[in-house]
Symmetry: C2
Subunit: 361 residues, 2 copies
DNA sequence: GGAGAAATTTGAATCGATCCAACAAAAATG
DNA sequence: CATTTTTGTTGGATCGATTCAAATTTCTCC
């Protein structure tokens, strides 16, 4: 009963302690934030009073206003919050961000929202010193929203051309070329591409028009890399089906059905993410197709799951953790400059790719 | 250049806008927080001025102090921040917490720290309305620290007896009994227990003394459940080796070595977490032992990985996501009451357990 | 004992907003 | 046209702390 009444009462402020202890609030403040400059006797008295009155210590809300710095970075996405804990790519990225934050003692605030208005509000009201943005679906809008906060921010993946936003990403063209060359060198000539979106909220077979007017240059560049390299092997890239997935199960399966429905079944799949590739492997196995004997597949990202699945996934490995670390540091040590960093990628050959066989599966 | 200078200048405050637009700060505030009560003409003028001066909108730092509510919950642990993205149990729990936060539009602030002082500081200065605490190693200290903040908080896992702290956990005794009975009914008579810690920072073979003076009642209860049930089958529990692991690879392997070093090799392992169980399966396979033919193993938790490993893990499934959801809601809808909820668990039999064989492996 | 230095303490100003009682202006009513 | 109502605006108080120049106390040392 007493505790209930007590808990409903207005919380005790530093000023209350100061008055009760008979010191100024300046001194009371010092007792907590710079105890060494307060005379021991006074310090103990104030502390005793605080203890007796049940003071919880200086409220960070008050301190914050004065200090200006929150000492936390916001990580934003248009996906629901659970994305950070479910998606393998996001998780590895978060591990890198965590590392940088742990090192400096900064906190992490997760920002997201189901719908657009809430997202806007959450971005506007997040208590952070800057943002790291996961630019997936709706990335452009996320960047616009964040820009209005006028806080430092970094976009992950060089998803768009705007040179005024800081970003860290990988060389998508080079990575895609590595993937394509690997398959071409194994003798593959019939391909299918499981793509990411070329613009917001897209899914389905991509027309040349869609590809040409791509908003997401990351997707565009990966495709360009695939096609450039395949052309060098004399392959007619115009005939390659490119299916835009939403990087999840449903649209990826639809894409596979579309790609394998045609008369010229591919012997190799280029997937723009490991997640897509993993889903594809499951689908192919369920169809009774052997990977890599019947169909080879190369992913993109290099998430840990790729090494553990069956067969282990050949993929283009990005330095995801390092990207996360750098992004976080860019915010933590912000100096006002716009930075755009491009990281290298490498081809890691595992067991999901093998020589092309002549026979139809 | 210009932008650099601009960015270093003192940020524009609402008061600056008010002055420039020739209105009071009260009206300027209303333009942003309750636009509908401001005359359209004035509203547009103020907005135009704000736009022209590059005002970023009301600073949440200022608003916060007045509003009192942060609209975010803190999730605390003594592990490094990456724990939230690595540990399978934590991830499922976070998914539940995320769900509840998404539903109400609340944010999540991750709080952690490598060392004790930083942890204290991070807990003290986190801008949140309440905490959900992962009480693993050092849980008691985490609770003490959090209690001082005098904000609502919930401990996950009923790790200690203190009835004054809100907590959500599972019926550990019942769960452990299910696991033990399952193995006993399969004919197993020689057991080994891979335990969690009975107190902070412990590892190694647990003596009866250690078990009796356990700080973590969760661990204690699980062991009690195992032993109670095994006793009913006439098994001498005094002879069962109990090894305290740190729920990670190194100590778990050490535990397995210790348990399998004796002359009476167990035919069944009771693991107090799926993570431990999964590591154990790997270890057993590496030793050339077949699971479940040579050794059966039952986990505890019910994380998704358990269903995917080889062989799939028989385990005691906790409603982890639901626990997370409830914990978050307890903070979000805090009403001043201390709540302690015990959730049910169930045995899920997969392929890591089988009948005991007479022959030594 | 007193001058000067060093150590503490004070209290007003500030951080950036929101709230609200009081007031002013415009609109509706008699 | 005077009075009431409605609608919009104002500016001081407040949220809970920190900061810093100035004032005060205490300490040193001759």
């Amino acid at each position: 009963m007493a505790s209930l009444i007590e808990s409903q009462a207005r919380p005790i402020r530093l000023a209350d302690i100061a008055k009760a202890a008979g010191v100024s609030h300046g001194t009371a403040s010092n007792v907590f934030s710079r105890p060494e400059i307060v005379r021991a006797e006074v310090r103990e008295r104030v502390k005793a009073v605080a203890e007796a009155m049940g003071y919880a210590g200086p409220d960070p809300k008050g301190r914050l206003l004065r200090a200006g710095k929150v000492n936390a970075i916001g990580v934003g996405t248009t996906e629901p919050l659970s994305y950070f804990f479910d998606d393998p790519f996001a998780r590895v990225m978060m591990a890198g961000i965590s590392e940088a934050c742990d090192a400096t003692g900064a906190g992490i605030a997760l920002v997201s929202a189901a719908n657009q208005e809430k997202l806007a509000w959450n971005i506007q009201s997040a208590l952070v010193d800057g943002f790291v943005l996961f630019c997936i679906e709706g990335g452009s809008r996320l960047v616009e929203l964040t820009r209005e906060r006028r806080l430092p921010f970094v976009a992950l993946e060089l998803g768009f051309e705007d040179e005024t936003v800081s970003a860290i990403g990988v060389d998508n063209v080079a990575g895609a070329r590595l993937a394509a060359r690997h398959l071409a060198e194994l003798g593959h000539r019939r391909f299918g591409v499981l793509s990411l979106g070329f613009a917001d909220n897209r899914t389905g077979l991509a027309t040349p028009e869609v590809i040409r007017t791509a908003v997401y240059t990351g997707t565009r560049d990966r495709l360009a890399g695939y096609f450039e390299e395949l052309s060098r092997f004399g392959i007619d890239t115009g005939k390659i089906p490119v299916y835009e997935t939403e990087n999840e199960e449903k649209s990826t399966r639809a894409g596979l059905e579309a790609i394998f429905a045609g008369p010229e079944r591919p012997t190799a799949i280029l997937a723009m993410s490991d997640r897509i590739a993993l889903i594809a492997i499951e689908w192919l196995k369920a169809q009774g197709l052997n990977v890599p004997r019947d169909v080879s597949i190369v992913g993109f990202d290099g998430v840990p799951d790729g090494a553990l699945c069956d067969p282990p996934l050949t993929t283009i490995v990005q330095p995801i953790t390092e990207i996360g670390r750098r992004a976080a540091r860019m915010i933590l040590d912000f100096d006002g400059a716009v930075r755009r960093e491009t990281m290298g990628v490498e081809l890691v050959v595992r067991a999901s790719t093998g020589p092309a066989t002549k026979g139809r599966a």
